[in-house]
Symmetry: C3
Subunit: 129 residues, 3 copies
């Protein structure tokens, strides 16, 4: 298992970690495998989506913000309940295909850490099996 360290800079942010994940896959040396990119946190998640136009990421964050508003009444008292729910909807991990020893994404896809309660120091745990 390899640990990536990712610093986030805003409360909500999608950070493209594709290059680091590709590198971890290459190092793992498996020809055909499944790569799990996993967030050990409860207020950030992992997703795969378009990496070319940053507007897609802005739209995705905005949509999720409207679906789970931060200022609605919550029971949990830390003021970040919205972030827990957003992380649950996006998912804590993404399983990705490895073939020919390389991470295989679609042409327009990138892997993102989805921060919902930053800025923070985050980790992603990469397992290739």
């Amino acid at each position: 298992m390899k640990t990536l360290r990712v610093a986030t800079h805003h409360r909500e942010e999608m950070i493209d970690v594709t290059d680091a994940v590709s590198e971890a896959v290459a190092e793992a040396g498996a020809a055909e495998a499944i790569c799990l990119v996993y967030s050990p946190h409860t207020t950030c998640g992992v997703t795969v989506n378009e990496g070319w136009d940053p507007a897609v990421q802005a739209d995705a964050l905005q949509m999720v913000r409207e679906l789970v508003p931060r200022d609605r009444p919550f029971t949990h008292s830390e003021g970040n309940s919205d972030a827990h729910v957003k992380a649950m909807l996006v998912g804590a991990g993404a399983a990705l295909p490895v073939a020919g020893g390389e991470l295989r994404l679609g042409r327009w896809q990138a892997v993102f850490l989805c921060e919902f309660d930053g800025p923070r120091q985050r980790e992603l745990w990469i397992t290739v099996r």
Copy 2:
């Protein structure tokens, strides 16, 4: 593949199954692996989120209930369409990292069966590879 049996007691409920999953992983005896926790049902799912404060689970269930109201008009006639959609949003399974022969979760994370159409007898299928 190991089968966990889980009894749910409410229509909507998040049940912490972390200990049982950890045990299944230890029994599997794999040093480094991916553990799939899978719900074979169509009205309950599996997620990873904060396990310490039950208010987070209450907030998550409440938010999902607001996003997918039970009493809106649906086509499916069994009265549980909302539960199908909720299960789809949460996901039928969670892939988790195994390292050093142990299930590796973040400090505040727990694995939950998310019941959306209980109470019922449920199963979770655990695969470690």
Copy 3:
């Protein structure tokens, strides 16, 4: 890794690909494994849900359409931002259990390609490990 080709016929559609996935799993010849069904696209995803009553699929698509309306203001200029967000909520891939050499789904479950920006020619990438 095996590639399935799937033609979609509507803008939004859930297409049952269970038989093709089962076949790919049988061909792979693994006794116990995890099967990853992965969409390399950014406007379609993969989910597991009820396969018996098509009304469940219609309800799920309708609910997702209401959660992420196509005609709200978006930044991304291609007119398919809603589809990117829908794909993110549903997820790009599904990890499924394989036991006894066969894909193991629950009695009422089916695997679906979820099209949100069709009609198109799509691919699904199947990895069994």
